[in-house]
């Protein structure tokens, strides 16, 4: 048992330093998942900790636009950083920032950039994503501050992956097995914070990087905060408790079920941060009934997005396009058919689909009855599914829940074993839409084939000219709104819970997480 003196002591400390913390200029962050590894290339999570520790050459900002980090500028055709080659490839030249040092004081050079490519493409390295590494043919490093990357083809989305995720330190990892390297527990980067302890299942402790290269506009050395402490708290009740008791300052992915309660707390702000993610209802084009555009149009008219949003606690936002509104190539003019059940019924009636005695429309022997697949166990998806089923029923279409778990769900999704599919895609800051909707897209499980769309997608994904890309993107969105192969429904938001004294916080919608801006966070008394 605890002695009375200890109890008094603990109570006393608690009274003067709220909530058991040692340093007032440190920020305590609650992570809702248990970290697997701190290596950006092999973690199965978004790298919150990593984003504050490891830097890339470029990083996406709050508007999902790339800004230079370890490079001095974002390569473009205009500034000569990108040169298309006669052989169909391209060459990208990065100038690196001078005077950047690793957390151990060693200088950061072009050799580290070349090494990162070598390490990631190494077949022995088990990485979740080696995206981008296979498009590169060769890398040259004529001097310590210049990197020349030769690509096999035109890759407008080159900034999404490899060198943006983070650069690996060659002087520490050369010849080391990255699957088992101590680096995975104690990553060494060039970022504003360096890891000084990682206790699995408990916390990651960081301190300010004394060598950090960045200064604020007034010339003051960054970061402002002395340390970031990441506490691992997978239980959402405990998360709420610790926010209430003052033990936590920031949670960037507040579970929806706790978000409402946190919003009412004194001194706590809720920030809604958009995500590069969209929920959608897909049609399977293997099904003859769904190949009929009038059926798809009727279904589109039957959908009421506000009802879905309401069922999901009011957090997601309704969308009209697969291009979420964060992007500047989002076309506000490309809108989906409006919610209009009467119109939907009329369309089906005109197409010869008449209401049967069982409440389901039929044409001859064919009934408008579909299997609607969602991933079993995903509570939010199953809720949305119920709303969609009810909305379709209202126009005489029967949708039957056909939920699959795990491998069975993956199989159904990729092999096309569904009629209707409600699911989500998450993308980087430079999405490649042909993957989802192109005739040869690896994720086109709809088997949607539209040569006109393929042409537009090829134009969009083969050009380095932003204006041409935007024009093609608009055209793509108009085609999708007209042909309706998929119905974009909502985009989720991340709910950030933060203490009001935390200033300078900017949400980041990309997979680089808001921690990419952690150098600029400060705590006010």
């Amino acid at each position: 048992m605890i002695s009375r003196r200890t109890l008094l002591l603990v109570a006393g400390t608690a009274a003067c330093v709220p909530a058991h913390r040692s340093n007032r200029n440190s920020l305590v962050v609650g992570l809702t998942y248990d970290i697997d590894t701190l290596n950006v290339y092999s973690t199965g999570f978004l790298g919150d900790v990593e984003a504050a520790v490891v830097e890339g050459l470029l990083a996406p900002d709050a508007d999902a636009k790339y800004v230079p980090v370890l490079a001095t500028s974002v390569p473009t055709i205009e500034n000569g950083g990108i040169v298309p080659n006669a052989d169909g490839g391209m060459t990208i030249t990065y100038r690196l920032r001078e005077g950047v040092k690793w957390h151990d004081g060693a200088p950061f050079t072009s050799a580290d950039v070349a090494f990162t490519w070598d390490a990631v493409r190494n077949p022995a390295f088990i990485a979740e994503s080696k995206d981008g590494s296979e498009d590169i043919a060769a890398i040259q490093t004529p001097d310590p501050l210049t990197v020349i990357v030769h690509y096999r083809k035109i890759v407008p989305g080159f900034a999404t992956t490899l060198f943006t995720f983070g650069i690996l330190p060659r002087h520490l990892l050369s010849g080391v097995d990255l699957n088992t390297a101590p680096y995975n527990d104690r990553p060494v980067g060039t970022g504003p914070f360096r890891v000084i302890a990682f206790k699995r299942g408990q916390y990651v402790l960081t301190e300010r990087n004394p060598y950090y290269w960045r200064r604020d506009a007034a010339g003051r050395q960054l970061p402002y905060v002395d340390s970031l402490i990441f506490k691992i708290i997978p239980n959402s009740n405990s998360l709420l408790m610790q926010i209430r008791s003052g033990e936590l300052d920031l949670v960037v992915a507040t579970p929806y079920d706790q978000a409402k309660q946190m919003g009412g707390l004194e001194g706590v702000d809720l920030v809604r941060s958009p995500l590069l993610q969209w929920q959608h209802l897909d049609f399977n084009f293997r099904n003859a009934k769904l190949r009929e555009r009038r059926v798809r149009l009727a279904i589109a008219h039957a959908i009421d997005r506000t009802a879905i949003v309401r069922a999901l606690g009011g957090f997601p936002r309704p969308i009209q396009s697969v291009v979420v509104p964060v992007f500047d190539f989002h076309d506000p003019g490309a809108v989906m058919p409006a919610h209009d059940p009467a119109r939907a019924r009329a369309i089906l009636e005109a197409a010869g689909w008449h209401l049967g005695a069982d409440g389901v429309r039929a044409r001859g022997a064919e009934r408008l009855s579909f299997r609607l697949v969602v991933q079993a166990g995903k509570g939010d998806d199953e809720l949305a599914q119920q709303v969609i089923i009810a909305q379709l029923q209202a126009i005489g279409i029967e949708a039957k829940a056909d939920n699959r778990a795990g491998v069975a769900y993956r199989q159904a999704r990729y092999k096309g074993d569904f009629d209707l599919l409600y699911s989500a895609w998450v993308t980087g800051a430079d999405p490649i839409y042909s993957r989802f909707l192109g005739s040869k897209g690896t994720n086109n499980s709809l088997q949607y084939r539209n040569p006109a769309l393929d042409t537009v997608l090829a134009r969009m994904e083969g050009t380095l000219d932003p204006a041409a890309r935007k024009a093609a993107a608009f055209e793509m969105q108009r085609i999708l709104a007209e042909d309706l192969p998929t119905i974009p429904l909502t985009t989720n938001v991340a709910v950030v819970t933060k203490r009001r004294s935390l200033k300078g916080f900017t949400p980041n919608p990309t997979n680089m997480t808001p921690f990419v801006g952690a150098a600029f966070w400060r705590l006010e008394a």
């Binding site: 109570a11 040692s22 299942g201 691992i232 610790q242």
Partner: protein, 317 residues
């Protein structure tokens, strides 16, 4: 009761453990989902990348081959590597074992002392007010859900009073023993309460049976004080059946207190198990479960041993 008996028991336990491991392996793998599920919404993880990862972990092999490989490695002392973290399973488990044993040890120790005291008192005063108060307490202890009690304690002591930290092993960066103690009070209390409630019922029942025996009447008749009758003649005999229960509960300590650890953010085996379950981290799950099963089997043998030591009839019979 010889070394040969012990050897025989341990040898007999091995096929049982083997059978358990086979069943566990099947159940874990037949459950829906798999380690690759985390990639379901991520379009960058192409089917080719998935196949590559599955191959690296041997997940593309048929189940019997996977089990054979796992068993072969296990027998030679290799527990495999975690799919989530890439670290050795044994390292993962050993790291979590310390906090789990600390919490479990303190909670079980407190529970044992408390339940003996409560059991003896209520048996000695059957039907009187102490028995009824203790009876009420044990009923509450058995009926109140652990998670609810944990949350209420957090609300009162962390949020309202601000006396105790609401979770974790320690304040990060603070090494003081008082800090460790402050962190363990609530989870240990929660764990100990439910256990005390159940153990004290067994001890009470055992005491009541024993106190009706002839030798107790004899002890009283020869003029022995009531305390000596209760403790030396009563408890010594009443505790024997309780020992098996206690031993089995102690064995379950090693598997971690899943709910308590989750709510208090205690980095023990229970948390490791939940996280590995979420990520379908097969090697870690197998490691934790086989270790837990082995502990239960060993505890059974230990309980028999302890019974023999406490009860000459078992020893010589």
């Amino acid at each position: 009761m010889t070394a040969r008996w012990l050897l025989g028991r341990v040898a007999g336990a091995l096929p049982v453990l083997l059978g358990i491991s086979l069943v566990l392996f099947l159940v874990i793998h037949l459950a829906p989902g798999g380690p690759m599920d985390v990639y379901a919404d991520n379009p960058s993880v192409t089917p080719a990348a998935l196949a590559r990862i599955a191959e690296a972990y041997g997940l593309n092999q048929p189940l019997p081959v996977q089990y054979g490989r796992w068993l072969g490695a296990m027998v030679s002392g290799d527990w495999g590597y975690s799919i989530r973290t890439g670290r050795p399973v044994l390292t993962e488990i050993v790291e979590r074992l310390g906090p789990t044993l600390l919490l479990g040890g303190i909670a079980m120790g407190a529970a044992f002392l408390l339940s003996v005291a409560l059991g003896v008192v209520s048996a000695a005063r059957t039907g009187a007010w102490p028995d009824r108060v203790i009876g009420g307490f044990t009923l509450a202890g058995l009926s109140i859900p652990v998670f609810w009690l944990a949350l209420v304690l957090q609300l009162v002591f962390s949020v309202w009073l601000g006396w105790l930290p609401s979770g974790g092993l320690r304040t990060i960066g603070v090494e003081a023993a008082s800090d460790r103690l402050a962190h363990i009070v609530m989870p240990a209390t929660v764990l100990a309460l439910a256990t005390t409630a159940s153990w004290s019922r067994y001890i009470r029942a055992g005491m009541i049976t024993v106190l009706r025996q002839d030798y107790i009447r004899t002890a009283r008749a020869k003029g022995l004080g009531e305390t000596a009758v209760l403790l030396r003649h009563g408890l010594r005999n009443a505790i024997i059946p309780a020992v098996s229960i206690v031993a089995l509960d102690l064995a379950s300590v090693i598997s971690g207190a899943v709910i308590t650890e989750a709510i208090f953010g205690w980095p023990g085996i229970g948390s490791l198990f939940v996280q590995s379950m979420d990520g379908r981290d097969y090697p870690v799950l197998m490691g934790v479960l086989v270790m837990g099963s082995a502990a239960v089997i060993l505890a059974n043998i230990a309980a028999d041993l302890a019974q023999a030591m406490l009860d000459p009839r078992v020893r010589n019979g």
